[in-house]
Amino acid sequence: MSLLDISGLSKRYGQQTALDNVDLAVPSRSRTAIVGPSGSGKTTLLRIIAGFETPDSGRVALDGQVLADGPLIAPAHRRGIGYVPQDGALFPHLSVAENIGFGIEAGDAGRGARIAELMDMIELDRSMLTRRPHELSGGQQQRVALARALARRPALMLLDEPFSALDAGLREAVRKSVARVLQQAGITTILVTHDQAEALSFADQVAVLRQGRLAQAGTPHALYWRPRDRDTALFLGDAAVLEAEFRDGFVSCALGRIPTEADARPGTVTIMLRPEQIRLSPAGIGQGEAAACHGEVDEIEFGGSLCAITVVVEANGARQRILVHASSLELPAPGTRVRLDVVGKAHILER
């Protein structure tokens, strides 16, 4: 059952369309990531859900309660929705304890205990309770901001690029611990990010926004392997996008005949292969050498554990550059002829 229902949501700023007829359902206790390039309307969507912005049209409902119906909106401070902005926005004049306790009624008897409990949840030492925000590291600030929002026991938590200010190593650690806290608390979460890897690893559901429109929503796996179109495919990761002929459940392309999920009309189609679907091996050994597809290594980009290799394949007189991932242990030299084998099925994109 979905907790948050968004339907037909639109918002314009003057000439600029920020959101265009967005529909989205967020299941209860799930984690949804909203991704999209800069300016695609992610923050606007979050701000409308939180109640800081009025939509032009469309509805937002949380657990049956209508929060926005066109320009009619419910007051933000009574929505019970947690919000963690990009830089945490901790109150600089309050200590960590006062920040966390900001949303708890002052007369609440269990206030101190709750603050301590929340500190445990975000794994910060209780001795930090008296510190001021500027005496915390970036990651600690983010976790305090999360605890502050959790203190209200929100039904829904909104995170707007909360990790983008952190450096790469810390970002992953903080993201994991935040995900765990939210999981434990059983809180439905929406995370906004422009980092597709973050979205895919964090969420149960990923929604891709592009120019204010919802391009596609689904599980990370579905979106990664079965994107609807080329832009979504490339936004979520590297891919080889090729022209192919479809017939009888197979496509024929520069890489040979590849099985695919069946239902398409016979004729020219566009297919997508992820780099990890293509295996490289030295040309001239292996079995079925004559029928196999060959190419020449053009460029190698060293990337630590996984390296990106560009292979040029000639087919029907056209040269195709294809990106392949390979372990850095078995890198071919540039200029080598290699054999390419496709693992799994090709995915047909909408044109």
């Binding site: 209508v66 109150f91 949303g103 209200r152 026991r153 608390a185």
Partner: protein, 529 residues
């Protein structure tokens, strides 16, 4: 994280009743627009009063009161005063600013402080000092001399700040095009000072129109002195009101003139990179004659008042300090200053927040009314409040009325300070507070204003210091028996007891010193030094 923590139950913080849906343009904006609109209505009182009283009086009576030799004489006096004082101030301020900012004048920093310091001396104390050393002094030229000395800092401050900001590369370019140094100054530097000169001149022009004490003391008649005289003799007659109408027209005329003269031009540095520090022009043999200018101005603007004050203080010996009136006037002044600062700041808060967080057409219109009222002379504000309180609300000669008058006169000061304070608080903090369940107005109070506190304190100090030396409105509106430093000083000098007045002047100067230091520091900071 810690596994032993029991799962945190997700529960709706909401009540079970459905939430109301409202057409809310912005968080808290609606109620603040209401409050700012209310303040704007009050700011329109003086102008509304003038229009209403003119209609009430009727064209016959009004024209007979306006078109008469006395008004022509006052108009001529005022016009001559403006026409003589402003050019003199401009020339002196530009010369002085150039010497302290662009030449290797010895002790430039000290001279720059001394150029601003006369601001700490209330204008009417300037003329009190001059009367003390030259008792026969009165008439147009006396008025001009004292005005120049008292108000020159209003031009010196912006002009010197602008000179410091100018990119010297432009002057180098002009010189490389073959222009002699003085032509470079006329054709490149002076045009870039236009906005600063216009702004400073407007401020001085408005002060010349509004000042009462300075001119009354040396018996030079302006609209303001005439209105106060009328008011004191015939209370609230149509004659005073019609004079006030002409005075308001003069103010609006000055405002319009400044807009026309300032033009649309904006002088900013094009191109990238930080400007190079200026190279100072060597004065060489001109150093000694050049020193005469700041020396003379300091002697006349600071030396004479100090000498006169010292003499009166010595004449009065210790006894004048022991008058019980002095302590009570000091106390009352402090109470009025603090009360007025609080009221003014509170009145400015809604507008300040809106102009930072909710800019738009309505906000600009409301803000315009907040600013215009500061340009009106205190005497007009006071007349309007007298009429309103006598006829409508029975608050005449009450503390509340005085505080409202202060709020109207010093609203722009408070607004400028508050606005920059609020602009430094990220809007995200306010939103975070709201998402944590604070009502929008409470969020503004407990987060935004709390964090803007240093700015709020500074603007309250500015207002408080303005009130400390306010004379006209206090004289006209304060409850009977009220004695502030300014009014007590005024009544003592009216009785020609100059020695007894001296401690009051000294206290006002001491209380104004921080303001002067603040203004000087601000102009330094504005130009990045």
């Amino acid at each position: 994280m810690s596994v032993q923590t029991p799962p945190f139950p997700a529960s709706r913080a909401l009540t079970t009743q459905p939430l109301p849906l409202r057409r809310d343009r912005q968080l808290g904006a609606k109620s603040l627009f209401g409050l700012a609109g209310l303040v704007s209505l009050v700011t329109l009182l003086p102008l509304g009063f003038i229009i209403w009283i003119t209609i009430q009086t009727g064209w016959e009576t009004a024209s007979s009161l306006i078109f008469r030799p006395r008004v022509a004489e006052l108009l001529l006096n005022t016009a001559l005063l403006e026409a003589l004082t402003l050019p003199a101030c401009i020339v002196l301020a530009v010369a002085l600013a150039w010497l302290t900012e662009r030449s290797d004048l010895p002790g430039a920093r000290l001279w720059s402080w001394l150029a601003v310091a006369p601001l700490a001396i209330p204008a009417f104390v300037h003329s009190y000092a001059w009367i003390g050393v030259a008792p026969g002094m009165h008439g147009l030229f006396a008025a001009m001399l004292v005005s120049v000395l008292a108000y020159l800092p209003f031009l010196y401050l912006p002009v010197s700040a602008q000179l410091r900001r100018l990119d010297p590369a432009l002057e180098d370019a002009a010189a490389s095009l073959g222009l002699a140094p003085w032509r470079v100054f006329l054709r490149v530097v002076l045009p870039q000072l236009r906005i600063a000169i216009c702004g400073g001149s407007l401020l001085i022009g408005l002060h010349l129109l509004a000042e009462y004490g300075l001119y009354a003391m040396i018996r030079f008649d302006t609209f303001t002195t005439a209105i106060v005289d009328q008011f004191q003799s015939s209370y609230n007659g149509p004659a005073a009101n019609m004079l006030a109408g002409v005075l308001v027209l003069s103010c609006l005329g000055l405002l319009a003139l400044e807009i026309v003269l300032r033009g649309e031009a904006r002088y900013a540095r094009l191109g990238s990179g930080a400007p190079r520090p200026v190279s100072l022009r060597k004065l060489r043999r001109a150093t000694l004659p050049a020193l005469l200018l700041p020396l003379a101005l300091a002697a006349l603007g600071l030396g004479i008042p100090s000498y006169a004050l010292a003499r009166w203080l010595a004449a009065g010996q210790g006894a004048v300090w022991q008058a019980p009136e002095l302590a009570s006037a000091f106390g009352e002044t402090l109470i009025y200053a603090v009360g007025g600062a609080v009221v003014t700041t509170l009145a400015a808060v809604p507008m300040a927040w809106l102009s930072v967080r909710a800019p738009g057409r309505l906000q600009r219109a409301l803000e315009g009314s907040h600013y215009y009222v500061g340009a009106l002379p205190g005497v007009v504000v006071a007349l309007a409040l007298v009429t309103v309180t006598v006829r409508i609300a029975p608050l005449y000669q009450s503390v509340a009325t005085v505080l409202i008058a202060y709020a109207l006169m010093f609203l722009p000061r408070a607004l400028v300070g508050l606005r920059s304070g609020i602009a430094q608080v990220p809007v995200e903090l306010e939103r975070a507070a709201v998402s944590l369940g604070r009502r929008p107005l409470l969020a503004i109070l407990s987060v935004t204003l709390r964090l803007a506190a240093p700015g709020v304190a500074a603007c309250m100090a500015l207002v408080a210091m303005g009130i400390t030396t306010e004379l006209t409105a206090t004289l006209m509106l304060a409850p009977n028996g009220t004695t502030t430093l300014a009014t007590q000083f005024w009544s003592l000098t009216s009785e020609l007891d100059y020695a007894a007045a001296a401690p009051y002047a000294a206290l006002m100067i001491v209380l104004s010193l921080p303001l002067t230091a603040l203004l000087h520091a601000q102009s330094r900071r504005a130009s990045g030094q």
